[in-house]
Subunit: 391 residues, 2 copies
């Protein structure tokens, strides 16, 4: 073991997630895994109700509040289980809150704009919730475009708890560029966004959201911890008897937001090492200039890539409508898909890895989350030029 | 950072969980966090569907099968969410399986022998499942004793899916010393055990169990991953329409065993770094002689502690019936509880930490999971003698 070094050559890794994290964060976490703050136990080995663990949770929340400028109207908490558990927990909890406010079951309006929002809507239906699909871009564009809100099915203001969107669709490479205006979303209907693949990549106005949910493993951490930001007025549930009377299934206790929040995200054992890594990533983001700074870099990265790809329409196809192209997941295909393997292997020779597209879309996908450096993107751009010229 | 050393003095830490892990495992994992198998990305930064990640999952399963001699009749899988999520998922899944087999809703028989089994039974009731409490030792003994099976309420053989026990009650310090014989548990009723705090501490006959569930964070890993071992005949569910007809709530998809198993525990993103640590702990256990070896050490550790405590009945009280004393969590109080603070601080001076009892029981608790060394226990025993003699 003495020959090993706790360091690495900076990766040029474009995988869609779990994705790379800053090397300096992983180095610090590696020491903390074995000995935390000079003690001879690591941060993963202590009670989730001990002072150091509570401080990790509180610091992580504070960092999120600072970075996203989260107003006092909103609360931050953490769950296990990633976006998939979020699909279930959002329906359970927001419908239980709607019952508390209205005495009615209520329904969710879902925008189906890619694989993930589709799964979320399907899960709500499966569990027995009422779902209105207000837009479904699979038939119209194979998930490559998002029509303007004015063309979506109107929301049933009288019976709808929330409008659900997936802000960035990792598989399909689309990203919302704005949020629905008051023209589309009626007052009292809450905007819910899955930001698993673009949380903290850009400035957002948290006040406009009822709930934001984001698995950590793409932009901000390891798999195993999920960030929730909820409007405080949405926490309360109707009591269990009322929910049963209305035919609303109860959230399992680990997904039950009021319980989780009342226990500062430690009702059950929070994965504290994973939370600690999230905290370190956020601290680094603050130290590096916060959201404005990273957003600027992310915009430059995306612009460089799309500009290069668009330069060779005879070689590369970018299937996504330029109006909704993701700044996190740059999806492209080769006109001649028999060259896919050559592209991947030539890229690998240049140590550019993780570029294979999702199995459902094919082609290539360059995921350029926060931790993917501008230098990595420049190397990829260089290769995109070279490959095109070699064709 | 160059001044830091990736090492530590061996801890004498007796916390109830998350608990200490072998230093050598954490050291190996620390390197793997930054660079796995010579690549310049860490094991936490790659796709859960990549070859190295799948190999981590498969190796972890193989190690469990080897250590526990798991027969081919059983399957191993992993979920997030610890025991608390297990309480929910067990009820959802086994009742859905019972419906598939019998066309009926069925119920769970619960042995309430401590805080954790109580929570599990309460969660099943809350979610709308039918629960028979076949023994409740709170009233009879404040959870300090377990009557023989012959004194338990008989199981309703015609309508019961499973008998649920918590094999080791971490808070209360009781542990089952045997499993129910055919005299008590009717054929067709499946034995389900929460082994979160004693998994892999002793030999068990997996064939006798329908389901074993165990959060990793006490004996075998970090918080964030939970081990499930299920009899294959219990995987199938009745279809959703049938479940709805019978009034059986559906498992959220992340808790849906058939889906999780069909996707080799990676339907949603498995926390692969946490799984990797579990794998390393298991590999070390195999290399150190397997279950027989660790069971022998664990028995010696528990025997040393209880023997020392029993030697000073005027100083220490061990509330738990000797017939069911836990070999993992040694609960004791001081006759003079005004000395609790002195005991804890004197112990801390000797670098013996994590000894404070659970808030619901008070006094002290020495948790002596697999990674707590015989040397640590000997130091604690020495202190127990000294403290008693000083009184």
């Amino acid at each position: 073991m003495s020959a090993k070094v706790l360091d690495r050559e900076e990766p040029n890794y474009f995988g869609a997630g779990p994705a790379i994290l800053p090397t300096s964060v992983l180095q610090e976490a590696a020491y903390d895994l074995i000995s935390y703050q000079g003690e001879n136990v690591g941060i993963g080995e202590i009670s989730h109700r001990s002072k150091p663990a509570i401080k990790v949770i509180d610091d992580t929340k504070a960092h999120l509040k600072e970075l996203l400028n989260i107003p006092d109207t909103h609360e931050v908490f953490f769950l296990q289980g990633g976006g998939t558990s979020g699909f279930s927990s959002i329906a359970y909890n927001l419908i239980a809150n709607y019952a508390a406010k209205t005495g009615k079951k209520g329904k969710g309006a879902y925008a189906v704009t890619g694989s993930w929002s589709k799964k979320s809507a399907e899960e709500a239906v499966r569990l027995g919730f009422d779902v209105d699909v207000v837009v479904d871009t699979k038939a119209s564009s194979k998930f490559t475009a998002i029509p303007p809100y004015s063309e979506w099915k109107p929301i049933d203001a009288e019976n709808t708890s929330f409008l659900y969107v997936c802000d960035n669709e990792t598989v399909n490479g689309t990203e919302f560029q704005d949020i629905p205006s008051a023209d589309y979303i009626p007052e009292g209907v809450e905007l819910v966004a899955d930001m698993s693949s673009n949380i903290l990549s850009k400035k957002i106005d948290v006040a406009k959201y009822g709930l934001i949910m984001a698995g950590a493993q793409k932009n901000v951490g390891l798999a195993g911890i999920t960030i929730y930001i909820i409007k405080k007025s949405l926490i309360e549930h109707a009591d269990d008897a009322k929910l049963k009377e209305l035919g609303i299934p109860l959230a399992p206790i680990a997904f039950h937001y009021p319980t989780v929040i009342a226990n500062n995200s430690a009702y059950n054992t929070i994965p504290i090492f994973t939370t600690h890594i999230l905290k370190l990533v956020l601290a680094k983001l603050i130290a590096s200039g916060g959201i404005e700074a990273i957003q600027k870099i992310n915009e430059e990265k995306a612009s460089l890539l799309y500009t290069a790809l668009d330069q060779y329409p005879e070689v590369y196809t970018v299937p996504v409508d330029p109006k909704v192209r993701s700044k996190m997941n740059v999806v492209f295909t080769l006109k001649d898909d028999s060259k896919d393997g050559v592209f991947i292997s030539d890229a690998a020779e240049r140590k550019l890895t993780g570029l294979k597209g999702h199995r459902s879309v094919g082609g290539m996908r360059a995921s350029i989350y926060n931790a993917v450096s501008l230098d990595s993107v420049k190397l990829l751009v260089e290769f995109i030029h070279e490959f095109a010229k070699g064709e």
